[in-house]
Symmetry: C2
Subunit: 320 residues, 2 copies
């Protein structure tokens, strides 16, 4: 423990570890905003994290992710387990999707003390979306959540990186939504551990399942896992216990086969390197922008007297 | 000039500056792949860049961006001006859009020696999409292009950053495509210098124009520019001369009002800082991963003996 830490951080950390909702909410905000106190707090609580099952739920807008997460969370709550939910919102100006941040989400859970729900924007994270999400997962984990759901609209590189944070990733497909299994082929196959065919009471669920099965049989996973396919109707709760069972099965498989440790090692490495990239840059850029020579160099580049690559190489040589 | 540069780079640079298509194509590939030779070449040709009008064309999938760029490029070609086109392709696994990279694009231009066309994937750029695009713009500019179009599907943060590289940004809207002007409100208003209402022969162009006008009148730009609205039918070429005229008007405004210099300064600063972030990280991470202590630190983090923030702070303190 850090002896230079103010008492207030210690107290705050204890409240987070005890699961006090307001302390946790404040901690998430501090981490999201990269406040120094947020980082100090994370350092305190990090040793108590690592227990939660981190589940990524991804799929196209309109696939029913929120409803599915809400129902799954309810199922875990009935077993008296504690649940964290991080909903990554599509707030990019171009997506045209609804901005959900301010909407009251998941009403059935909002008054439940054993559930922590946080919406996060996809944009504007100083330290990057994936590292910030990872830190929020660590907080919820340390606060005693048994399972943490990360809900993402499956669009864009940032969100794929977020999906990779999870121990278990579920891809939601919906019959007849035009997102043909074919279009998902490129990058998702490696990410999805389970498929949920939601709105399965619609026609076409059979066809989607056949497509997924065919695709999976063509490219078996190197780790030997055969991704399950579960049909759900999130609105009615149909298939939710099956999906939970499938989640638990994959978790057990991951633990038995060391897959979980391998993934956590990959995530951990990526996280450390990303944090390093950010911290290095902040330190050098902070000093650099203060000493005024940066503007002179920028002038040279803008006048095409010097090229940006040479200028940056010079700066790096000076600072390392 | 760099005296340690091999002769072959000098020769290559001269060919790029003279506009030889194969030399330019090879240069773009080298820059995209961050080959050392690509960076060496950029350093050589950078002093000869800075003349081109860089035009960003952005809008939803299906808005007709490629056709519009093709027709605009043809119009510039008839004035005997040289044109570069960078088409940023939506290759994210989740978008579900067509991957255009391999499709033969812009057939009417493909045999024209005064046009350089390059498709770039949105993913997998080591140095980031925006910095790579900026480098490719510099190459095309140095190769003698009078105008460089950057065509992006307006989705995601990366692409917004790419749009910001342009001297002039055109937002394409289409009547009745459901991308209500309202949904674009958040971030695009600051980016768009001109609006093109494409497929204006469809019903609803009037309504889109009214919405844009209303929105613009509610939030006038601080620089005094009133973004023009041009109706086009790219497939037939209708409105293309008007759009070109509007582009030239904004360019003249930008030069007269110093807006162009301000923007280039902003872009230039962002580019230098991004390049610094990348170069710093590559240098430190390269050395770090070699010395083996990184894995030991990762072990500590995975075992929750140490937290990632403390570990990274320690590394940064060692290396700067």
């Amino acid at each position: 423990m850090n002896s230079s830490m103010p008492d207030s951080i210690h107290e705050w950390a204890e409240k987070v570890l005890a699961g006090y909702r307001r302390a946790v909410a404040r901690a998430i905000s501090a981490v999201e905003n990269r406040e120094p106190a947020g980082v100090a707090l994370l350092k305190q609580v990090y040793p108590s994290s690592g227990r939660a099952h981190v589940v990524g739920i991804t799929g196209s807008p309109g696939a029913g992710k929120s409803t599915l997460v809400e129902k799954l969370a309810g199922d875990y709550r009935r077993s008296n387990l504690r649940v964290g939910i991080i909903a990554v919102d599509p707030s990019s100006p171009f997506t045209g999707g609804a901005i959900l941040g301010d909407r009251i989400r998941m009403q059935s859970l909002s008054s439940d003390d054993g559930v922590y729900i946080r919406s996060m924007a996809t944009r504007g994270h100083l330290g990057g979306l994936a590292p910030t999400t990872q830190d929020v997962v660590s907080l919820l984990d340390a606060a005693g959540c048994d399972v943490v759901f990360i809900e993402t609209v499956g669009v864009g590189q940032d969100e794929v990186e977020v999906a990779r944070l999870a121990d278990t990733t579920v891809l939601l497909l919906v019959p007849g939504m035009g997102d043909d299994v074919q279009t998902f082929k490129a990058g998702v196959m490696e990410i999805a551990d389970l498929y949920a065919i939601n709105k399965a009471d619609r026609g076409g669920a059979e066809r989607v399942e056949q497509e997924v099965t065919a695709m999976l049989s063509m490219s078996p996973r190197p780790d030997g896992w055969r991704p399950g396919i579960v049909r759900t109707v999130a609105t009615s709760g149909e298939g939710i216990p099956d999906l939970r069972k499938a989640l638990e099965e994959f978790r057990a498989f991951g633990q038995k086969s060391d897959l979980r440790q391998q993934r956590r090692r990959e995530h951990g490495r990526a996280r450390l390197l990303e944090l390093l990239r950010q911290t290095l840059f902040e330190k050098v850029a902070g000093d650099l922008l203060e000493d005024g020579r940066f503007e002179a160099r920028l002038d040279d580049v803008l006048a095409h007297r010097r090229d940006p690559h040479s200028v940056v190489e010079e700066i790096v040589a000076e600072w390392t």
